[in-house]
């Protein structure tokens, strides 16, 4: 287990596959106390989680999964609304860890804002009057989002082929804003899975052939994507977009941004900015090309 501070003050926690970057803003003493609470809470997260791993790796169907650990219960809650399709609680593990750690560091503390970033799945705290700006990084800094206090978004998650998890789809990235990081994580997984098309350039293998412990069992996961014609890229993206629209209409997500081969689809009201101009604005200068 690692607990270390970066030169700029951020906290880095790592245990097994969990790798967190944590930052809090506010009065110095409160920030330090929050970091200490995070460190204290962290030691128990992975051991408790693994005790229920067999259940967490099973697909959720009609029966609500009976779980005890706080992170495991967050996972179950996040994937339950999606049980009509294939999903296991593991689809929300990173986001649920982020949510749990954020709650632990906030308890009794007064902070302006804070975030827990679990490998791109981010839980966010905002006090009234504060906002947070986050970048979306697919090929480059491709997008940005400003989260004000009054927007009901406290979680950001990104799923896709770049990460450590397997994907059933071919999305380069699917970024979702939702109420919690766990909810965003589960939805991002499903949207990234939906970005898909049948094409000979896509190589798939049963998940268990790659990882005997995979919760995806014998489902074919994407291992390589070759050259795709533009029409195929667009078709795959549109399928992902349809899934994002469905999830937004039933109130499970706030917005989503999907990318494949430099092409983007957005499903949102107002939250997201995507495109080359965004990176320039974030780096200070330049006009939007929109």
């Amino acid at each position: 287990m690692i607990a270390a501070r970066f030169l700029d003050g951020r906290l880095h926690l790592q245990h097994g596959p969990i790798d967190l970057i944590i930052e809090a803003f506010g009065v110095r003493e409160e920030v330090e106390a929050a970091y200490q609470q995070a460190i204290d809470r962290f030691g128990d997260i992975l051991p408790t989680l693994v005790r229920e791993l067999p259940t967490l790796r099973r697909p959720v169907r009609d029966a609500y999964p009976l779980l005890q650990g706080p992170v495991a219960r967050r996972m179950a809650e996040a994937v339950w609304p999606h049980r009509a399709v294939f999903i296991t609680p593991m689809a929300a593990v990173a986001g649920a860890v982020a949510d749990e750690m954020l709650q632990a560091m906030l308890a009794g503390r007064t902070l302006d804002k804070a975030y827990v970033n679990d490998g791109g799945d981010i839980a966010i705290h905002l006090a009234p009057g504060h906002s947070l700006r986050a970048g979306i990084f697919a090929e480059a800094l491709d997008g940005a989002v400003t989260l004000p206090h009054d927007l009901p978004v406290r979680g950001i998650a990104t799923s896709g082929r770049g990460g450590r998890s397997f994907s059933l789809g071919i999305a380069d990235s699917a970024t979702v804003l939702a109420r919690t990081a766990a909810a965003a994580d589960a939805a991002a997984t499903l949207i990234a899975n939906a970005v898909d098309i049948d094409h000979p350039a896509i190589e798939r293998r049963p998940a268990r052939e790659l990882d005997p412990d995979s919760d995806l069992g014998d489902l074919p996961v994407t291992v390589a994507v070759g050259e795709l014609p533009r029409a195929a890229v667009n078709e795959a993206l549109d399928r992902g977009l349809a899934e994002a629209q469905r999830l937004r209409r039933i109130g499970l997500i706030d917005s989503a941004a999907i990318s494949l081969r430099g092409e983007w689809r957005l499903e949102h009201d107002r939250s997201l900015e995507i495109g080359p101009g965004v990176a320039r604005r974030l780096h200070g200068g330049g006009q939007s090309r929109r």
């Binding site: 270390a4 501070r5 970066f6 030169l7 245990h15 097994g16 596959p17 790798d19 992975l46 051991p47 693994v50 791993l53 970048g135 990084f137 090929e139 480059a140 800094l141 450590r164 052939e209 790659l210 990882d211 005997p212 412990d213 990176a279 780096h283």
Partner: protein, 476 residues
């Protein structure tokens, strides 16, 4: 092992290993990594992706620590003669606690201490020397990977082109993508992997430490012995008694023996054979042809193409002419007939011998990659409580600095700015952190008394034997 951890027979047959480094207890298939990407199954063995590497003294095997594997076989005796490298030692950043391994040893009866750690280098880069005379691009031109600028072309050296890549400006001074691409490229180069570099207004070159460069798809086999003029100077006396004229074909400077100072010095008779191109000084010609993959880096496949005319007032029937390239890879022997036309003939043995000597004197073309970094800031705090004394001790050569066991060149002047040849370092010596910055092993070795004097953590020193006993290791 408890039943819960035991693998089934079919799993074992499939080469699956169980990782017990953390509670997740991943089962990992051959060639794949666990959920954390830190542990992997390498040919049925569980390995840390970044194991701590022990370097034995020359001739002995290298030893890597691997948690969760069979205990160390003890074939290095009590660890005598082994040197613990920083590879896989891990560190904290900034270094708020002493270095992970402070190892005491007693070679030749002298108490020594080696402080072993991994440094996180934000200020770092590589200097690349590419043995080729091909045009890679103009000085100062940007060097790109995937379109991102990762460095630039710097001043050429004799027979080699030089690149300066990385550095804090590209790592953290530009866009996030520039930093990530730069870090990836540096990491690959330092770990002796091939990287394709594009040079603005120039060529594409594939660079890999200790391997020949590949320029625009063509693999460079050997460095030329020198330019055509230099080749004349080097071999003129050896040719003199066997030839009437030698033309050394080269894309940079083509040399003509009888016109050259080297030939005049030997009182050779003008042969009247004029080559194309622009005359620089007597017997030295620029641009006899276009650059290419033919003779001497030109596009010439028939060497007679570069002969403009043969002067009947000077040349004579029976004149013996050698044409050869600056690498000795191409050569041809001609004699002038009665019409003063060059006719191919069998090359005399003494001439053949000198042609072979040209080839023998051409060194294989290689890329060399020197890692250059500053061990400043907090890294020193993991070594001593009084960091500036470490700097002074290194300056005074009381402390030897090695990277992965390889002695580093330490620049004069302030700080600990060092360079090391990555080709000599063990495999996979380098890692990275997302800052982005490179992680490199670094070891400081000095007398125990000197270590105590500079405020070192002498009380934390352990014996090499302790290191071996305290960690599960395996022999490579």
């Amino acid at each position: 092992m408890s039943d819960e951890l035991a693998l089934s027979e079919s799993e074992r047959n499939a080469g699956i290993v169980r990782c017990d480094a953390c509670p997740v207890l991943c089962r990992i298939r051959p060639g794949r990594a666990g959920a954390c990407d830190r542990y992997a199954n390498e040919d049925g063995r569980l390995v840390r992706v970044d194991p701590l590497v022990l370097l034995a003294k020359p001739g002995l095997a290298r030893v890597a620590f691997v948690e969760g594997s069979e205990s160390w076989a003890g074939e290095l005796g009590k660890g005598e003669g082994a040197f613990v490298t920083g590879i896989g030692a891990t560190t904290t950043y900034p270094d708020y606690k002493p270095a992970p391994f402070i190892v005491s040893s007693k070679p030749d009866g002298v108490d020594m201490v080696t402080v072993v750690t991994e440094g996180i280098f934000s200020y770092c880069g590589v200097k690349v020397k590419i043995d080729t005379d091909r045009y890679l691009g103009p000085e100062q031109a940007a060097v790109r990977v995937k379109g991102e600028a990762v460095g630039h072309v710097t001043t050429a050296e004799y027979g080699s082109q030089m690149l300066s890549l990385g550095g804090v400006h590209h790592l953290v001074g530009g866009s996030k993508k520039e930093g990530v691409v730069t870090c990836d490229a540096l990491l690959a180069l330092c770990n002796k992997e091939a990287v394709e570099l594009e040079i603005d207004g120039g060529s594409t070159v594939v660079v890999q430490a200790d391997r020949p460069p590949v320029v625009n798809g063509a693999r460079e086999e050997r460095m030329r012995v020198g330019c055509g003029s230099a080749a004349i100077g080097m071999f003129a006396p050896q040719w003199k008694d066997h030839v009437d004229e030698v033309i050394v074909v080269d894309d940079h400077i083509t040399g003509v023996l009888s016109e050259h100072q080297g030939g005049r010095f030997l009182e050779m008779k003008p042969a009247g054979i004029r080559v194309r191109g622009r005359k620089s000084t007597p017997g030295r010609y620029f641009q006899v042809a276009q650059p290419g993959l033919g003779w001497g880096g030109t596009d010439v496949s028939d060497p007679l193409e570069i002969i403009e005319k043969i002067d009947p007032k000077q040349a004579w029937p029976g004149l013996k002419l050698l044409m050869v390239s600056t690498t000795g890879e191409h050569s041809a022997w001609f004699e002038l007939d009665k019409d003063l036309k060059p006719q191919p003939a069998a090359m005399p043995a003494p001439v053949r011998k000198v042609v072979e000597r040209i080839a023998e004197n051409c060194e294989p073309a290689l890329c060399t990659v020197l890692f250059m970094a500053g061990a400043g800031g907090s890294l020193r705090a993991g070594v001593t409580e009084n960091p500036v004394r470490l700097t002074r001790s290194v300056r005074d050569t009381l402390t030897k600095v090695t990277l992965g066991g390889v002695p580093a060149y330490v620049w004069p002047g302030g700080g600990i700015t060092l360079m090391v040849d990555v080709a000599k370092m063990p495999e996979k010596s380098f890692g990275y952190v997302p800052t982005p910055a490179l992680v490199a092993p670094i070891e400081f070795t000095l007398r125990a008394a000197d270590y105590a004097a500079l405020g070192g953590y002498a009380s934390r020193a352990v014996t090499l034997e302790d290191v071996l006993r305290g960690s599960k290791v395996r022999l490579e």
